[in-house]
Each structure stands twice: as C-alpha cells, then as structure tokens.
Symmetry: C2
Subunit: 384 residues, 2 copies
C-alpha cells in the first residue's frame, strides 16, 4: 500500500437477538466505541464505507444522522457474508491511496426482524441452481470432505467445541453469554439436533443481530497496521473443477494478501476466519495455507488452533459463538484481531500476538465459487 | 483526477415492466452492449462496481457468471436512487487513481418482482419520521415551492410534458414505446389521476425494470471523458434550515464537480438529472446553478430545457418517461450523456453537444437531506 494504514479504533455492539432494538442503536454502540477509541469526532470523518446485506436501503444515512456525521461520501456495500470485510477493504484502500484521510467503516445487520429460524439464513443458494439452503450446501461439502480425506464427524464437531469454548470468554458473544454453565462438550455438539447431515445444530452459526465499526487513517505510532488487504470474487462455476469446497477465492485472496505483506501463513499469530459452519473453518484454514489439504480437520483436535495453541483461530468464538450478523461480521472479526494485537483481549488474549489475519467468504459453499473473499493481514506497531 | 478517465462504452437494456424476465437477462443486455461498444472482453475487466437497491443479495455475481467475468474484485453499492451513479463514481475514481485499469460498472433493478403499484416505490420516507411515501414528501415540497415562489401547477406539469415528449424519441423508454400516439398534452398531464396534490400520475415516474452499464478506462483518443465526479451525502437534518427541498447535497456535489472540471453551469450543453417527480427536476436545476432559486419552474415552459432549447434536460425522457429502476438509473443517465457527446443519440441528439452533466439524488425529498448526491461532468474528446 502507498501510505501505511492504521486502525485507529474499533468497536462492536453486543451480539444476540434484539428484536425490540432499532438497527440504529446497534450501530451507534459500535461506532461510538470505535470513534472514542480512535480519539476522533464526527467532524474528523472524511468518508464512510458501510457493509450490510439486508439494510434496509438507506440504513447507512439513518445511522449516521445520529452520529453527527454528514455531508461526506457514504458508500454502502453488499458482498454477502463478506459485506463488512469488503467495507473495511474499500476503506483501507481509500486511506492507502490518499483518497481520504480519516475513514469510518461500519457494518450492521438486524436479522431478528427478518428471520425467525435458529439457523443462519445467509443468502440461500446464491446460484439458485441447487435449490438448497446454505446449511444443505455446506453439508454436501462436509460429506465430501469426510469421504475424500477420511475425516470423522468428531473432527468436524471439535471445531464447534473449540470456538464455543472461546466464546464463553467473550462477554459480547451471542451464545457466549448464554453458556454460563460452560461450553458444550463434544458429545453435546454431536447430539444436538441434526440440521443437515453431518452438521448438527451446534455446528451452525446462530441468527444474530449486531454491529461493528472501525476508524482508519494513516498509521501513527502505536496503531495496529493494515499490512495488506485483498478482495476477490468467484469465477464462473466449472462443474469439472476439483474446487468443490468453494474456497478457491479465499486461496486467491490469501496469496495476494500474503505476497503484498511479505508474510507467510506460519508467521500469523492469531486468526478470525469464516466459520459459519464447522466445515467452513476447516477448508478455509487449508485455503489460507495453515496446513495441507486434508489436514485441516486435525487442527482443532490437536489444539493448534485453540487458545493456548500455536495459532489460535477465532478466539472471539467466531461466527459459531459470537454469531453472524452478515454485514457486521467482517468488522467484528477485525475488531477482535485489533484487540488481540493491542494486547487488550482480556481472558481470550493470545500472548504476544504480533501478526493477525481476518478472512471472510461471502456466498460460497460446496459447489459454488464464492461471491467475495476478503483476506487482510494486520500487525501490531513494529516499533512498539 | 490523476489519470484522464474515458468512458469506453455504454449500454442499457430496454426499460419497462418485464415480470417474466430474469434480472440477469436485463443486466446481460446492458453489459453486452457496453463491452461491445468498448471493444473489450471478459478477460480485460479488472474490477466491477455494481449499483442496486433491492438486489437481491448476490445478484452481482449471478449476473457476472453469465458474462465470463470472475475472479476480480466486485463491489456492490446501495445509495438509494443514486446507487448506479455511485457505482459509476467509484469506478471512475478507481481508474483515475490508477487502482484498476479497466472497470465495468453496471446497475440493475427488477422492480416488477417487488412492487405492483404504478408509482415509483423508492425507499419510502427514509427517515421513518414523516410516515409518508415518497410521492407525499415530494408533494409537500411542490406545495411549498408553489407558495414560496408563486409558481403554478401548469409550470410543474410542463416538466412532464417536455420529458415525455423526449421519451417518445427514445425506443428504450418505458413510457416512450407505449406512447406511439404521441406525448401527453399539458391538459392530459394535469387531468391524470391525482396522486399527491399537486402531483398527478403523469408527474410521477413509473415502476420500471431495467439495467445499464459502462466500461471505463484511461481516456483514449475519441473517448468521452469524465471531467469530474463528486459524491456527497446528506447532513443531519436541521428543522430550522431553509433547505426544505432536500437538494442541498446536489448543490454541494455540483460545486465540487464544477470546480474540479473548471466548467460552469452555463457551459453545459446537455443534462440528465433526477426527475422522479416534476418538482424534482425544477429544484435540481436550481441547485445545479442553471438558474436562480425560484426560476427553475420557467425553464421547461420557456423551452430552455427542451430538445431544441439552449440546455436540453433529460433528452432520454428522464425518469418520468424512461422509468426509474433505481440501481440502473444513474448508469442509464450516463449512457444517454455519452451517446449525446458522441453524437449518436439519433432523433433526440442535441446538436454539437460537447459538455454533459449527470446528476442523481438518492433518498431525498422535502424535509430530508439526501442520502447521496452524485454529479458528474463529461466532455467529448477535446481533440476531436
């Protein structure tokens, strides 16, 4: 990037089901925290990038009117599950190029006013071809993964055990707060209601309301830095392709981001990745290069990706525990990584974390090349 | 702008009510025409910016899979009625800064699958404060305009007479094709069904399906050039303000665009502006500086803004005749201005047009500062 980009401050709302709460209120909670952390006021903001899937249209302006921010360019972006990450990406690029000095990015989603089901809606079957909701498509991928790699349902379920254990340490997580008795055991994950074989209820992210925000500007001493950020979208689907898990765009975005940052996968200390379903985290970590294809299923079992392990993944609890308010997710992932790199992540702090990674994949599943994948690499201030 | 930006090619679908047509088909019609005109293929496209309000989520990727374009950054933008213009703006900025070489911008909306009413839905009452649909809010503005400036309902209606007469010359206009018997007379406009006093049915844009697209890149010899483009959003509403027609963002965007281009309002040869309702064109032309406040109502009556006049406005028929498929509108306005500046606008050509203007205002009406206003200035190749 041309100019060094710093994350001046981040913030999130609480995550959960808040049917009586206005979408604006959730956003203000996140934006207020991010602006306070950044030490900026409304007049300092030069442009705003917003991520949301279900809006409603005009939601960005309705939110901003309560913040005093106005009269500046506002760009609202939809990129399925990666909407918030895409808003962050565009904001980071705008700061890097010198287009804007201080940029607010926020994402928001109020799913409880749209969906009553327990399972993440996501956009069901973005191609319209398979006629399957997202859990079904991910389940097909999971079945294939088990067959091809000889993985077990216990390995799949261990991802949920891990992330829900992390989520108990996150007071803002949707399911974290509801789990004061502790995270579910492997047996409990496997015994929960079957949604789409082999994915049980506790292997699917909940339907959640929430918001998250970040203020970006030229990196100053002490700021977490954006080393690189890449956004790529899917290619036309080729039925003869071996790319059956839909993570090819993640691989391309990761290649671009790692190359631009001069960092390798093994250098990353902490990651927040798209675990809408347990199989998702597994194939994503393979696409990111944390392990070889087929070895992803062992990473949670071995403890490699758990808090206390070598490369903790989803210390926030991930989508499986924090929840998945589509437009907010990417910026909530970013917030967690920034807190980790600043050493303020409390009970879930990864000791000495210096390099972090955020990944979100929108509109992908088995048999579909994703709508949009964003991979960003961040570091703590190298001089601190 | 840093690099000179050229519009390499534009295209649109037909506009109308196509309930049985897929949204993808409309988009392909526009994108195919734009890419053919630009002389590019799918492999040449480095990034895509998409404007849509009602999507559905993921529509951009569904469209692109039929074009062979994939694996590149795709950013889908919602900015109410200005969604397509915002997509164009982001695309133009990306080319100007050197971020991308060749960029596709397209906008699409399939309103007939969402709304059955005859009146443009727009987002009703984006503030949620007045409890009024858009025609009602515009009607309040129109009433105030009549009272403050002593304008007449005949002056208002003349805007529709003018734009519908233009639309008859546009074979792709929604109401143009339906008007083979000719455009409505002043009496017919005034006698049409009253929607919201003083706005009659023929003073409101129809609910329309459509798509439009443009390919942008570094300006080459013969290309229409983007002289400047500005995007601003509304400020928090101040009830004590005299800005009662919601066009303050248009004024700010126009000031920025004219200043950056080194052009003045009187230099503009042809304009496409946001005439969702007749009053909209009037207050917009005042905000753009074509005349003083209060004088906008006379511009259609005097013939100044009619084809054959000094500064024709909405030669395409405007939103009132072509229709207003929200995300497509801004790029359809752009397409018309590009055709005009290339001298290929057929029966509705403005002779010798050298400088053109595109303006769209999203989410504004009486009593609301707009969500987003975009003003762009274009010119024919100065060397041609």
């Amino acid at each position: 990037m041309t100019r060094p980009v710093g994350v001046w401050g981040v913030g999130t709302s609480h995550f959960g089901r808040f049917p009586d709460q206005r979408v604006e209120t959730l956003a203000w909670e996140a934006i207020g925290e991010a602006m306070t952390a950044a030490g900026v006021t409304a007049d300092d903001i030069d442009a705003v990038f917003v991520g949301t899937v279900f809006g409603p249209p005009g939601v960005a302006i309705r939110v901003l009117r309560g913040t005093g921010i106005g009269g500046v360019p506002v760009v609202t972006i939809e990129a399925a599950c990666a909407s918030g990450t895409a808003a962050f990406h565009e904001a980071a690029q705008a700061v890097a190029s010198g287009r804007y000095g201080t940029v607010l990015a926020f994402g928001v989603e109020h799913l409880s006013s749209l969906f009553t089901g327990a399972i993440v809606p996501e956009a069901t079957d973005a191609d319209g071809a398979a006629g399957l909701p997202l859990p079904g498509l991910y389940a097909l991928g999971a079945q294939r993964y088990l067959a091809v790699h000889g993985a077990t349902v216990e390995q799949l379920a261990q991802v949920a055990v891990k992330n829900k254990a992390h989520g108990v340490r996150n007071p803002r997580a949707h399911l974290g707060r509801a789990s004061s008795s502790g995270a579910p055991s492997l047996d409990e994950v496997l015994a929960s209601k079957m949604i789409a074989e082999p994915l049980t209820l506790l292997q699917c992210c909940p339907t959640t309301d929430g918001a998250a925000a970040a203020v970006l500007g030229r990196a100053r001493a002490g700021d977490v830095r954006v080393l690189s950020s890449a956004l790529v979208s899917g290619r036309p689907w080729d039925q003869r392709s071996d790319e059956i898990w839909g993570v090819a765009p993640v691989r391309r975005a990761a290649d671009e981001a790692f190359s631009a940052a001069g960092v390798e996968a093994e250098d990353v200390d902490v990651l927040e990745v798209h675990d809408a379903f347990t199989i998702g985290e597994i194939v994503t970590l393979e696409a990111l290069g944390l392990c070889k294809p087929g070895e992803g299923a062992e990473l949670a079992v071995s403890g490699h990706t758990a808090l206390g392990g070598r490369q903790p993944v989803n210390p926030s609890g991930g989508l499986l525990s924090r929840g998945h308010p589509l437009g907010a997710t990417g910026l909530a992932q970013l917030a967690e990584i920034v807190w980790q790199l600043r050493g303020v992540a409390g009970d879930r702090q990864v000791p000495g974390a210096r390099i972090g990674l955020v990944e979100t994949l929108g509109g992908a599943a088995s048999g579909m090349d994703g709508n949009a994948a964003v991979v960003a690499l961040l570091s703590s201030d190298p001089s601190s």
